[in-house]
Symmetry: C2
Subunit: 373 residues, 2 copies
């Protein structure tokens, strides 16, 4: 085995060589951040030459001052309740990521560090023991005039149980998001893996398309946006039509799917909640599970007629969810009232907090166990 | 369609609301950076309160000073030759990403901005018209004692041509990398998509496992490293054994693969080049295409015997590549000499530059057309 030993030795040399570009990772972080201890969390950044350093988070408003000691700025805060949070530092007025924390999420064009606070509420956001497969796949949209990417989650066992067919949840992101939003910020794979492993949700496929009609895919180069004019009246609801007439058939011909309304669910947050409402009303026979999140709608004569048609056609679950601090809470309450007035059985799930990912993860974790049962 | 119009209106409100957390993306970047104009590139960062701001790149040594004007620091540099480069700013001593550039790569635990310089050499690093599918899938390793993630690229047409079987390239990363290194920094999907669309490479599957034997997956939480002691002599070459005895069979039973040596290639950079050399010598009948990149080996009696056995067993391509400024170039030259002395036909592809991704992308772009022909 001498050849192999030699190769190993070379690797050790490589790991200690300062010149190797890729290898610079080995000798970086000496600062620990964030550090959770009992009921507090400490953030630290090495910035000996900075004049003012603050912390910016998504659970505290404004900027939190940090104190300098020996070149390292730090601040200790009470630990927020179990969830995933985001933060960054601000060094002399410039937003800076925490180099000591490799857990980073992309929200649109912004990169923010993640703080995981463990506990009952966030338990399903961590990796489960049995994990599904996540696929990035492209489909051609004639309606939108472009080739487009979507993310597909197939549950643990999909590869082995080659004869099993699965129900499908179509899970839509909000404005500013893309086909990677639910899988990264939404922790969809982890939530479904955990719920399925615990026997709380049935094994299902989750399809996360890109809901920006002109965009081929997130974060790519050389992929121009669609030239289609989506303001043209003939393009009304173009994305929802592509979803129901192109994405659903694509999934049903390329994955092992139960192609029936009782095995199709649609859910979406914010803009995706609008897509969910629209799809359920324009295609009342397609989805038996309908879950608009952090969204609502003012009633019109036409929407009332569509809701009556949906009721007549039948469905199994209408799960409307919104935070009581959401700027769209009144809209959600309007939809709740309209559903009641038109006699559509539904759940109105009201949570704390606003228009944010901690709610969307909570909602997915709450409604996924209700699907396909 | 009034319901839908109403939903659209709500979305427009949402997009303009400053309070919506997810929507903050809409109104951010006012600074353009980087900006390529003819033969120069300008980097800019808004940092009114900073004292010293510099630029750090992977094509210039040291830090490049930037000049302040109206709160914006900038520097204009000669455009480097076509390739993908990385950079960041340093604001009062603290590394900072370019918030105006959403193209970011993760290299181990570091996040760096990417600069794409278009040209003939980098043409295949951009998205092709016909794109394959990228999958993150988990396999159980009994040898390593953990469940592990790998990235699999299937070429355009894989979903449609349900009877076609494909050859497989096993593509291994270096120390500090993981199962996402080749697909992100290596631009593997883009390079293969382009080469296949141009008819230069045959459609193939590319498997990119995680080569750190104790690690389940990159960038996850709640997944402890393996408890196995890899220094135990009985664990020698544990990763290479898992690759050949577990990953190859997993791929061959879960994807439509031609399960023959003539349809198996192995390539790897740095540590992965060591894995490539080891695998080809311990399993001489498994791979007919062998491509160690930026790696080499000093000859021993045992390695010479293994190479003679490999020669006797037969193979179709031995493609050794290294940069003439690589700190392992002497090692690569040693392997080149040993291969010559033992009478193994091979290619020694020597490029400019060192131990870095611009070489590894170039090598993949160069050897992929030689595979399976």
């Amino acid at each position: 085995m001498k050849t192999i030993l030699t190769a190993t030795l070379v690797l050790c040399l490589a790991a200690s060589a300062a010149s190797g570009q890729e290898l610079a990772n080995f000798s970086r972080q000496s600062t620990t951040s964030p550090e959770i201890a009992n009921d507090s969390v400490t953030f630290r950044i090495s910035a000996d030459y900075a004049t003012v350093v603050t912390l910016q988070t998504n659970w505290l408003s404004g900027q939190t001052p940090m104190q300098k000691k020996g070149g390292v700025w730090s601040v200790t805060l009470p630990l927020p309740e179990p969830e995933i949070y985001t933060y960054n530092f601000v060094v002399d007025g410039v937003p800076v990521n925490d180099a000591s924390n490799y857990m980073v999420q992309r929200d649109g064009t912004r990169y923010l560090n993640m703080l995981f606070v463990p506990g009952e509420r966030s338990a399903n956001y961590y990796e489960a023991g049995q994990r599904g497969t996540v696929t990035s796949v492209w489909y051609d949209s004639k309606i939108l005039g472009i080739n487009r990417r979507m993310t597909v989650y197939t549950p643990y066992g999909y590869e082995k149980n080659k004869k099993q067919k699965y129900p499908v949840l179509y899970l839509l992101h909000g404005a500013g998001g893309d086909e990677e939003a639910w899988i990264s910020m939404g922790r969809t794979a982890q939530i479904l893996d955990n719920l399925i492993q615990q026997g709380k949700a049935v094994p299902m496929i989750v399809v996360m398309p890109n809901g920006n009609p002109g965009q081929q895919a997130a974060q790519t180069l050389g992929l121009p946006n669609s030239q289609t004019n989506f303001r043209d009246p003939s393009m009304a609801n173009a994305y929802v039509r592509s979803l129901c007439e192109e994405i659903v058939p694509f999934i049903e011909s390329n994955f092992r799917v139960i192609a029936k309304p009782a095995s199709r669910a649609i859910a979406g947050l914010s803009m995706g909640g609008g897509h969910t409402i629209t799809a359920s009303q324009l295609y009342p026979s397609m989805f038996d599970y309908i879950c608009p999140l952090s969204m609502g709608a003012a009633p019109t004569d036409e929407s009332r007629a569509q809701l009556r048609a949906l009721k007549k056609d039948g469905y199994k679950l209408y799960f409307l969810a919104c935070g009581d601090a959401d700027f769209l809470f009144d809209r959600a309450k309007q939809l709740d009232r309209t559903l009641t007035e038109e006699g559509l059985e539904h759940t109105f799930f009201v949570s704390k907090n606003g228009h944010e990912w901690r709610n969307w993860r909570l909602y997915l974790n709450t409604f996924a166990p209700l699907l396909f049962k």
